[in-house]
Amino acid sequence: MKRKRTSKTRKIAAHLGAVSFLLLAVSGCPRLREPPPKTLVIGVLADIQNWNPYLTETQFSEDLLALVYPSLAVEMPDYHDHPPAFAPALAQSWNFSENGLDLTFHLRQDLIWSDGQPITADDVVFTWQAQTSEEIGWYGAYTKDFIDSVEKIDKHTVRFRFSQMYPYRLMDANEGLILPAHAWKNIPFEDWHSTPWLAHVIGAGPFVPVAHVPQQDITLAANANYRLGAPAKISRVVWRIVPDQLSLMTQLLAGELDFVSSIAPEEAERIEANADLRLIDIPHRGYTHICWNTTLPELADPRVRRALGLAINRQTIIDTVYRGYAQPSLGPILSTMWAFDTNLQPLPYDPRSAAELLADAGWHDNDGDGTLEKDGRPLALELLTNAENHMRQDICMLVARDLRAIGVSVTPRTVEWGTFLSRLRAGAFDGAVNRWVEPTQIDLEDVWHTVPEGIESSNYGRYSNDRVDGLIEVVNDEQDINLKKKMYRKIQQLIVADQPYTFLVEGRKLRAISTRVRGSIQNDATPYFNLEAWELP
């Protein structure tokens, strides 16, 4: 009996020993949580698509590759004062011929690729061939539509010849990253789609890739041959791919990540409360709005659309949905743009005037059911948005409540993104809560010009105003910036008077960065604007 107990005790002791050994083995290993020194760890939601810049489509891929490959010039984030200017990069200068059709770039002569080979005019010519190759099928090839030829004048001079005059010649010539001709010209274009590009990357940007584990992480190291600026101060940057926003936040707050460029407003408070993190709050290049379907009899009258806008309390939306990280949106041009009309006044929150306007337009509640009618038809609208975006759903609820108060019945409806888009395109909606993210060059044609027959357009609400059309058609060709400004001002006033959209808010872009990182400049051009100058202790 006694012997048996001893063996049982021994057994238990052995089990306990084994379990504690396992636990020790697992938890006692070198603490791996802290990243190695001089390594910056960035959290992102999705992986890079390809290491060849002409075979990618996502914004993250483009932002990352811009750290590896050079461009002729760099667009400056100075669109607040004038159309964006360009700063020299590979090209130290450029000039147009007298007729404006020839654009000559003079390349810097001291630049080399990461493998030590010189950067020459051949690289620029080769890049243009790749950009316009049908076998490659780059989505941005349309920016080269008016470029007839790109010729090497000498080793460091290259000339772009345009087929016609238009304002975006420099922008279009500069579009796309420059490729290493000496290394890539041996790979036929038809093989590009099936080439594993990581092994072929030769860059001239501040960083070069050293490792990529698909769907896990991307590692870049400082390029020892970088000559466009001072060499990168951080030796290694790792992008951790975390496909879930909640996990991304968890890892950020746990100190595993140094930088995350997508922070939702409701997460801002936790970032600010964390002593190791700093919240970055910059203007976002987007505005959220309700697009009204102007072809519907209920919404064809601008007075009705204005009334709807007057009855919506934007401040409540800003305070609750955006937690204060937003400002009222006033019109079709962002308030951060040089062409924005500073005289525009925000539509006030004025339900009383809204009700009067609706009465003027013939809408009355004759049967006392709380909903206005006209000719026996109730003013009942469906407000469409996409289910993936809970902020837009919240906006729908708030708008429905506000409009209910003036007798407009609103049913919020959420659908999946693909369905949302196809319903917008088909015009199968009453009102839709959506957001436009604006490029740095102003182009109002796609959204505001009357939809031409048989052409796909983003003017989902089928807004049409002859005066707006006429101005949009001439403003692009106007060279004088003051006249341009005047035309844009007129366009904004006309659109705001018509209220085809209820302009809701311009959001803010929120990012989080570890307090151990120094020297980062944040703007909305790219989250990695001056990554080479960031410093770690």
Binding site: S27, T58, R240, L246
Partner: protein, 321 residues
Amino acid sequence: MTRIVLRRLAVIPLLLWVVATVTFAVVQAAPGTYADTIDNPRLTPAARLHIKTLYGLDQGSFDQYLQWLGALVQGDLGRSFLFKQPVTDVITTALPATMLLAGTALVMDLILRILLALISARRPGSWVDRVLTVLSLGVYGLPSFWLAGLAILFFSLKLSWLPASHMASVGADGWSLGARWVDFIRHLILPASILGIVGAASTARYLRASLLDVRKSPHILAARARGLSEKRILWVHTLRPALGPLVTLIGLSLPILVGGSVVVETIFSWPGMGRVMWQAAVARDIPVVMGCTLIGALAVIIGSLVADLLYAWADPRVRPQ
């Protein structure tokens, strides 16, 4: 027997074709294309249209189907729109990760399931049995993303014992092989445990029930009459016959080994099939969705065949004459 197996193997292409056709129709019926889903505000409508043409998405659904089927017959699953590589490469990269995770989870699941059932069935109705029942039903009822979140909060954030995501730590590529293995196992523990525990909790009850059924059968009474110890009766004479249905379940687990778990793989940033399939579905990456579906369908078909064979091997009564 061989003829039955051969006959079932022969219908596999037909079954796959049916699955593929139905899936293709469903994917095509979903609104929007890959070109619409790309997250890039710099893409103009012209650029999106161009991308549509590039991938042949501007053609009719039937034309796309014929092209896809034609390539498939030649063994070509096509190229992924989203991942920019052949679908076979996407799958061969994701499959090992999923098999490692789901395989470890399955082993944990089986061990845990047998242990739970044995403990419960030893004294049915006792407080141990009741507590285990409530616990396993409770775990079964919880959504796995919540359990995963809880595990991360506790084991990663509070205790800092285990990493919260990925298959390797930052900088692990520079370590020795041994250290990298330990690092990998540390990353495997949390996601595999979540999958294993949820699996065991949902099925331990079945094994317990069949254990109890077997206990009532005459051969157990005979064993007792022969004076065998209760331990031997439970482990040998009860457990073995009760494991029959379990064998089938293992066969049916094959699809999970291949398909992976969307939720757990996404939360733990595990680069497996579930996550790939989900990303592809959201991005309307038709070739990848089709490829994953075919692999999944194949796993279901083979899995049920294997289950039947295993069952026939374990239980002579169901063997075809």
